[in-house]
Symmetry: C2
Subunit: 445 residues, 2 copies
């Protein structure tokens, strides 16, 4: 891999093909360049990246997935230091998390003392916390400052502050007592005091809050940014709306992957090798197969009944498919409602009760609609078995599908992990037991 890369990353950027590529990249917006780089293999990505103008290169680098950033740092070697230096502290901290320790140390040592301090301060907060994702370089003003002086301070901080759209107002000891938006500052009388134009009390998030919850606060409130405070309400940074969007997108990626029964890729799909795809899925499939061997056990237990009434086997895929689908519906709905904050762990009983009733009604509906055809195909006795089984399996599926993710969340497991595929496999096994039990009772076998 490394050999190949060195061989095909030549410096003759004056060939017509490379000139064309450079011109093509120049015409694209930064987000489009990011998308294009995500579609290339590692070698061509490094070549394309070097063709970018210096200032655009930093912007593009900031928006790349962390996994791609690490590969680029590796491929760019010496040149990486300059890009690292130009990043904002929060982006730098995120990258350091992903880099091998040796590379991380080398890059950190190349920073100025102030930049290094801003970066390592972020690294002191737990991973996945709001503190890791905030911007520590923030303009704030004490109570009693005039609007004109506040604007002057914003101007003085200028390019160094990552965000100036939200200016926290602080009392003694940097305690946040309000915020004033840049919009409000511009619209207000310059001689007014921030005390009179600020929003107070300010919505804040704790530096130790999970990044996802903090990001939800920004989204739900429609804020441009929210001050991040420590346990004593002292200002430590600002979580901006674009940081929040990035956190939420990563969470959505994770939830979506796990709902489908695989590990998140954490990088653009086309930049993942086929072996990488296999790796993200094979453990899940193996676990689910191990769980599914229970279905083999259940069916061998009822092998005598099966060989007596082979017709029973005909409906197994339909029944467990229906159970799996009803369970997926419940699980996906509840996982999503929980992710956006509509449902809290304390709602577990209420939710499971609703879902149980929903499953019962779904089962009765399906049984009523399906009982006619089933009797025509399989006769009245097996028809009755099927109808009863559908009702039982649907109720079981929605109950399990809603309770397991919520219980998982209560004990601190990502609810998406125990969603659709897990529920299906569980419902397959228990559904078969229900099916054969009902069949034995009704058919008298």
């Amino acid at each position: 891999m490394t050999d190949d890369r060195t061989a095909t990353t030549p410096e003759h950027t004056d060939t017509p093909a490379l000139r064309d590529l450079r011109a093509h990249l120049e015409r694209l917006d930064v987000p489009d360049v990011v998308h294009e780089l995500g579609r290339l293999g590692p070698t061509r990505r490094a070549v394309a990246f070097r063709l970018l103008r210096k200032d655009r290169a930093v912007e593009v680098f900031e928006d790349l997935d962390p996994a791609l950033q690490v590969e680029l740092v590796d491929a760019l070697a010496g040149e990486a230091a300059a890009i690292f230096d130009a990043l904002d502290p929060d982006d730098r901290a995120a990258l350091l998390d992903e880099l091998p320790a040796g590379v991380a140390r080398r890059l950190l040592s190349g920073l100025s003392a102030a930049e290094r301090a801003a970066t390592t301060a972020l690294l002191g907060h737990p991973e996945e916390s709001a503190g890791r994702r905030m911007s520590p370089e923030v303009v704030s003003v004490p109570l009693g400052t005039t609007v004109a002086d506040t604007i002057a301070r914003v101007r003085a901080a200028g390019e160094d502050a990552e965000t100036v759209y939200v200016v926290p107002v602080v009392a003694a000891g940097r305690r946040v007592v309000g915020v004033v938006s840049l919009r409000r500052l511009v619209l207000s009388d310059p001689s007014a005091l921030v005390d009179d134009v600020m929003t107070s009390p300010a919505t804040t998030v704790r530096v130790t809050d999970p990044a996802e919850r903090a990001a939800n606060v920004v989204r739900d409130g429609g804020f441009v940014g929210v001050p991040v405070v420590d346990a004593e309400d002292r200002l430590v940074g600002v979580l901006t709306v674009d940081d929040a969007m990035r956190v939420l997108e990563a969470e959505d990626d994770e939830d979506s992957a796990r709902t489908g029964g695989s590990e998140p890729l954490r990088r653009p799909y086309l930049s993942v090798s086929v072996l990488g795809l296999v790796r993200s899925r094979v453990v899940w499939l193996l676990l689910l197969i191990v769980a599914a061997t229970l279905t083999v056990g259940v069916q061998s237990f009822y092998e005598a009944e099966l060989s007596q009434v082979v017709a029973l086997a005909l409906f197994v895929p339909l029944l467990i498919g229906t159970g799996g689908n009803a369970g997926s519906q419940a699980a996906t709905t509840v996982v999503r409602a929980s992710a956006v904050g509509d449902v809290r762990p304390s709602d577990t009983l209420r939710v499971v009760g609703r879902e149980m009733l929903t499953g019962l009604l779904l089962g009765v509906t399906l049984a009523t609609v399906g009982v006619g055809p089933a009797i025509l195909v399989a006769g009245p006795q097996i028809g009755l078995v099927l109808a009863l089984t559908v009702v039982a399996v649907c109720t079981l599926a929605t109950t399990v599908g809603s309770s397991v993710p919520l219980l998982a969340k209560r004990v601190g497991i990502d609810p998406a992990i125990v969603s659709a595929p897990f529920i299906s496999t569980f419902v397959d096994t228990t559904g078969l037991v229900v099916y054969f039990t009902i069949a034995k009772a009704v058919l008298g076998i």
Copy 2:
């Protein structure tokens, strides 16, 4: 329903319980009030809403799901007009979409001529387009304006403009030639021309672009807002970051619901009745059951083989479960990659090729790991049948799971509709055919 509501919406807001509720609501942030209202039934929601201070009521109303807004308009009757008047034009247009025509007409007729014009202009754009979700009240300046004059114009527009963070710069005929952020304006020399401080060319979106694509542009670029233009590049509005977040959240809700095999609820989970939950799921379950009856057909076709070798039936749930899981993995990954723009419809062949290979490798891995136990349980011949079937079913599942959503997108169907549950059911049926065909060949039955 209506009787019940009238009976329990009394005006005596001076009872101790209501005073407590009012005090409780006063202490909450707007987003928390929105969450709390989403958890109440319609009657109590209307009571709680009336307890809010007027200015907060409008903010809360803006952030409610459209379905809850409609119920409130109904419950508030006469008072609704005042709230409707205080909404921004884009929020007003979104609400009008949901209201019965009579109510919509009545509310529209109560507006001033200017407000009515701003609202109906939005309604002229197709649903789900960027034009429907943008803010039409935007401050723009012509080329040649100084920074000081631009700020003066922002101040003059003041509260009327929904967004002042992004100021489009226009040439003759309102053609957008650049944008300047409020941040840049504040940081720049007041006597400079916007021509020299603006970002040009500006990233814009078309008024007819799908709202989701436009919102992705805002998110991917980390913009506070993006100018919306018509076919001649003339300014018609700005899509702000909070509008974009709302669009993307609704899309994520939709994708998530459909991935799980149900229709999106479009309102907070706890505010949906059990019958509402049944309604969002029953049609999907019925469709999937109809599709699954094919599995009954396939198995009855092979009934002779099944009764000859009942052991074959034992492994059916495991095999189709594995196929379903492998298919879900592929479908979910591809649907998500397509939603965030990592994969385009033109990548279909490349993606399907990768997924086919991934499925083959997954199948070979599972068969290798599983062949020992399978031989122990079922003997060498059925062991061979199982191993071959796992390879074939995994390859089939990833191929179908990746190609069907992408083909759906090509013909304009939401790829999430044909994802996991649809793929599972399809793979169930074809997987059974593969299984019995291999079994007949190997076992010579």
